[in-house]
Amino acid sequence: MNAPFFKYALFGDEMSLVVAFVIGIGFGFFLERAGFGNARLLAAQFYFRDLRVLKVMFTAIITAMVGAYLLGRLGLLDLSLVYLTPTFLVPQIAGGLILGAGFIIGGYCPGTSCVSAATGRIDGMVYLAGMIGGLLGFAEVYPSIERFTKITAMGQITLARQFHLSYGFLVFAVVLMAFGAFVMAELAEKFIGGKEPGPGALLEPVRTFTPVRRFAVVLTGLGVVALFAGSPYRSALAQVDTKQLALDALRAADQVTADQLADWLVEGRNDYLLVDVRDAQSFAAYHIPGAVNLPLSGLNHDFAQRNERVVFYSDNAIHTAQAWFLIRSLGFPSVYILAGGLETWQEAVLYPRAPAAGAAPKDQIDFAKRMAVAKFFGGSARGATSEVANPVAPVLPKLAPPSPTAPAPDNAQPAKKKKKEGC
């Protein structure tokens, strides 16, 4: 079982929300136990009286960082599939200042305000209500500030890549930085806030090897391991698990049917990337709505986010399959082929064939749906008898200027009219 679980489809979209809820409740529980439901305690850190927030948050960061590094290095977690928020430097600094001002005024950050509201504090509930109002307000003004939110885009970057450091070195440096910050925090609490280091502090005035100190040593040790253990990312060299690929191909788990793709498009889903691997000329003549054109020669390891679901299609089955294999071997986990390519798309979606007169009601209903879908894509239905009468494929709709060599079938017209009355 490989992580990230969601990207490897251990559970679906709906269940991911339930999982998020369970994780969120757990996160909130431990924030509350750390005392973060109390605005006074959160504010105390600005006066150096109690820097618990800094300690808890920084501990969480280094624990997650060392853990993610080790899991990645052991091959249990594919770090390149973990979502990174894109960086927009100036807008994010502006947003950070607003959030900081809100933190100082209200005494909560968004997460702790939820914790506070859940423990029944009225100020937390008011803060939460204000936050929801702010979300609505932001959504309303977003069109007018959209340009600002897009400036200084830097993409999905990490510190290690930006400053050309090794990932392990960065882990080690951050762990050291965290413990430096903890010691500084406790000194600040002592000399500015007037609070002596108590039990559980790093600087607790005892000579024993307390649990906190043991934890610090272990984390630092893991940081040293990270320093020398190399990159946690999967190797950039192509690693092909031929057996897995063969199994996927055998079970047709790598295929998306034309009907399925049509449903996705009608539903307006945008959680996949539809790639047309034909040349630019054919693409300009017709392409499935929403597709991007990327000829076979243009495929490389950064043509899309690695966690993107990619669907290839073409009018050439071999080219599609080759694209699928290339991209799979580059380590993209979810790559699909439009089964039957453009030809099937044309047959099944754009110009569905009416069932015979005496067909079962189920087929009739099915065809009614197909007609509506065909209309959505600018196609039309064909009569049941057209198969024999007119074997020529009908022209592709709209996008293509009608090619003089392929005459439009006459029988497409009546079917279209009938449909307008029905559905």
């Binding site: 679906g12 339930v18 809820f21 859940a118 423990t119 029944g120 009225i122 009739q364 009614a368 029905g422």
Partner: protein, 347 residues
């Protein structure tokens, strides 16, 4: 084939039932809440010792709020009617096989029962009002002097409350065309959901009015304004743990009934299994598990349990969670019910 399609799309044969918006769920929620308030008020009126007269929250505040909420709910129901001016026709006949007819008549009896319960102790709750309208004192004295009437009012509130609570579920359950609703468990489920929201509402009111050092001054100021205007006695906060305990029982039963509803569907026909799938893993799963089961039942159960163990203070957080959970339960069931259907191929 065209014939077939037209035949099924005829609104007289295939009524369009995917047309319920926010009005019906809101009405079902408020109806269940009022039913719960009635039952709690009736029980409290019956088991109260005549000398104690500490029944203000359950027996006066509850029914008064119930009157307001029921009117709001009936207004939502009225907004949903297509032929608004023919409402009176519901009261020209009683049709024993129609849940709608039962509901119309039950709602007619809810008002006097709630009002009688509220009037029994009204002069004690709001002395200022009683001074201006002396007839309130007369009515209250008349009722309290005759124990049989008090018992009658209590029993009537309980009986009509149960009827109202179950009817809101039967209203959906009787709709055979929507497999998700087609279960007799829906009646008790809505009844106990209504009871839990009612207990949570009363508990929340008690918590809000309890004297508290940490409350912001403006809130204390508002409360003291209301208290001075009505010259009311402070509410009896001793009943708060009982209400929290009752709420926990109701929530537990509600959870069990939800389980029965889903088990019943899962062991039924494929159509019913698909309908249950809408809530279990389908498009309504996230809302159902997170807002109904998680935030609406399990989290308040834990919080109230800790409150009862004196581990944490009584707060309004569980009340708000239970109330929103009850509302979301109605919304989810109405929306998912309308999405469930027999002919899977039909849109």
């Amino acid at each position: 084939m065209t014939e077939f399609t037209l035949y099924r799309h005829n609104p007289l044969l295939d009524p369009a039932v995917h047309v319920w918006g926010w009005e019906i769920p809101v009405y079902l929620f408020l109806g269940g809440l009022v039913a719960g308030l009635m039952i709690i008020a009736g029980v409290r009126l019956l088991i109260m010792r005549p000398t104690a007269r500490q029944a203000l929250v359950c027996c006066t505040v509850g029914p008064l709020i119930g009157l307001v909420l029921l009117s709001a709910g009936m207004f939502a129901l009225f907004l949903d009617l297509s032929h608004k001016f023919y409402v009176w026709r519901l009261y020209l006949a009683f049709e024993p096989t129609s849940p709608m007819s039962w509901g119309a008549w039950i709602l007619l009896f809810v008002y006097p029962a709630l009002l009688a319960n509220a009037l029994t102790h009204l002069p004690e709750a709001i002395p200022a009002l009683a001074k201006r309208v002396p007839v309130l004192v007369t009515i209250s004295d008349y009722i309290l002097a005759r124990p049989r009437i008090v018992v009658g009012i209590g029993l009537a509130n309980m009986a009509i409350g149960v009827a109202l609570g179950i009817y809101t579920g039967v209203l959906l359950g009787a709709m055979g065309a929507r497999p998700l609703w087609n279960s007799a468990v829906l009646g008790p489920l809505f009844l106990f959901s209504g009871l839990s929201t009612a207990a949570a509402l009363l508990h929340g009111i008690l918590v809000l009015t309890t004297p508290d050092d940490e409350r912001p001054q403006f809130a204390d100021f508002l409360l003291s304004m209301v208290a001075r205007w009505s010259q009311a006695r402070p509410l009896d906060t001793r009943i708060a743990p009982t209400l929290a305990q009752a709420d926990n029982s109701f929530l537990t039963i509600e959870l069990g009934l939800l389980g029965f509803l889903l088990i019943g569907h899962l062991t039924s026909t494929a159509v019913h299994q698909q309908a249950a799938g809408l809530l279990l893993t389908g498009p309504y799963a996230a809302v159902f598990w997170v807002f109904v089961v998680g935030l609406g039942i399990l989290v308040p159960l834990v919080i109230q349990h800790l409150e009862l163990l004196h581990r944490i203070r009584h707060t309004i957080a569980p009340s708000l969670l239970v109330l929103s959970g009850g509302l979301v339960l109605r919304f989810v069931l109405v929306a998912a019910g309308q999405a469930s259907h027999w002919a899977t191929a039909l849109p």
